[in-house]
């Protein structure tokens, strides 16, 4: 018997109207026991409301049972921004949120998506409540530290006196030798600079980690402009520790060759 054919490439706009809004798109979880509407503030102006159960509330909008997909960066960017704005305003309103990743969609069970969300809140109640308590009142800050690449080279040269000898050899009058020693010098210098960067990163990490409740090391990005990014850190900070972190950042700003960027506060996206 032939199985019914199933379209494997569904697009967001192709969903039949009947089950168009059967699922729930979930933004975040807060502590609240009242169901309420927040108005048309969601992705593409969808109405966001609270599905509450046993003291926990999930902020959702009724959504097609499909992930948001866009090939256009601008549209994707607008969706992610709308997601962030809902989480951010919930964070300001309730004080503590458990943000979920963009495109978290709960499919409907036999009795509808809101019931599925309720069942999830029930099943994960202790886990979610524990996480909310751990994040209570805390905010996320991003700290990025970069330094002048030339500063790193100077430090690396000072720490590796052998490199000076290679520099002499690289000036050899013999063409083939000069070429090979120059290549060697480049390799050794690159390794020394990387080692220096790693040592400085570790020092900075130690200093900043001591000022935060929790941290996540993010991948460093190419800084360009003669700069090398040494540390890209997400910090979870409670209000009473914020001044300490700001002071540490201020202290780094005063150090030669370093530039520091601190952004936030954000909802604790990196600590869920």
């Amino acid at each position: 018997m032939a199985t019914p054919s199933v379209s494997t490439t569904l697009h967001y706009n192709d969903v039949p109207q009947a089950d168009a809004l059967a699922a729930d798109y979930v933004y975040c979880v807060v502590e609240d026991s009242r169901s309420a509407s927040l108005g048309p503030v969601g992705i593409e102006g969808r109405e966001v409301y609270v599905v509450a159960h046993r003291g926990l509330g999930a902020l959702v909008h009724a959504s097609p049972p499909l992930a948001y997909q866009a090939t256009d960066r601008e549209i994707a960017g607008a969706w992610v921004l709308a997601h962030h704005q809902v989480v951010d305003s919930a964070w300001r309103r309730w004080g503590t949120v458990l943000p979920l990743t963009f495109n978290t969609i709960v499919l409907p069970g036999a009795t509808g998506a809101d019931q599925s969300v309720t069942a999830w809140l029930d099943r994960e109640h202790e886990h979610l409540q524990g996480k909310l308590q751990a994040l209570a009142g805390k905010a996320e800050y991003g700290v990025q530290v970069s330094c002048d690449s030339s500063h790193l080279v100077e430090q690396a040269l000072a720490a590796n006196p052998d490199i000076g000898k290679l520099q002499e050899q690289a000036n050899s009058p013999s063409r083939g030798l000069a070429y090979m020693y120059r290549q060697q010098l480049e390799t050794v210098l690159k390794r020394a600079v990387e080692g220096q960067a790693l040592r400085e990163s570790a020092q900075l990490y130690g200093k900043l980690r001591a000022c935060a409740d929790d941290t996540r090391l993010e991948k460093t990005k190419a800084a360009g402009d003669g700069q090398t990014m040494l540390l890209n850190l997400s910090c979870l900070v409670s209000p009473e520790r914020l001044a300490g972190l700001e002071m540490a950042v201020q202290g780094l700003r005063g150090m030669a060759g370093l530039s520091v960027r601190m952004v936030g506060p954000f909802p604790p996206y990196s600590f869920c």
Binding site: A70, V80, T101, G176, Y179, M180, Q184
Partner: protein, 110 residues
Amino acid sequence: MILDLSEQDLKSGVLGLVVALVEIIEEALRLQALRRMEAGSLSLAEIERLGQALSELEGAIERLKAETGSTESVKAVRDSLDKAVADAVGSLLDPYRWDRAQLEVGYGNS
């Protein structure tokens, strides 16, 4: 998908690919030579000969790129190769990167 290629595009594409490969081979030879130098298994005369050969090869590649105007297409091939390797290695070492990459282009199912 309809391929829309001019003869000129095709030529510069193939040339870019070939020169990029020659460049990569030259770099591999140079790395090997440096390794042997550091291990102390080469005499000064051998280092001199290797250095001359490699620097001539490097000069020849640069001239070829300048004469054929293929500097840009070689760079494009190398960049896309670098990115492919970095992505493959990155996703092996850090599976979460897939999530983030998907989030950045706005799709994915978590």
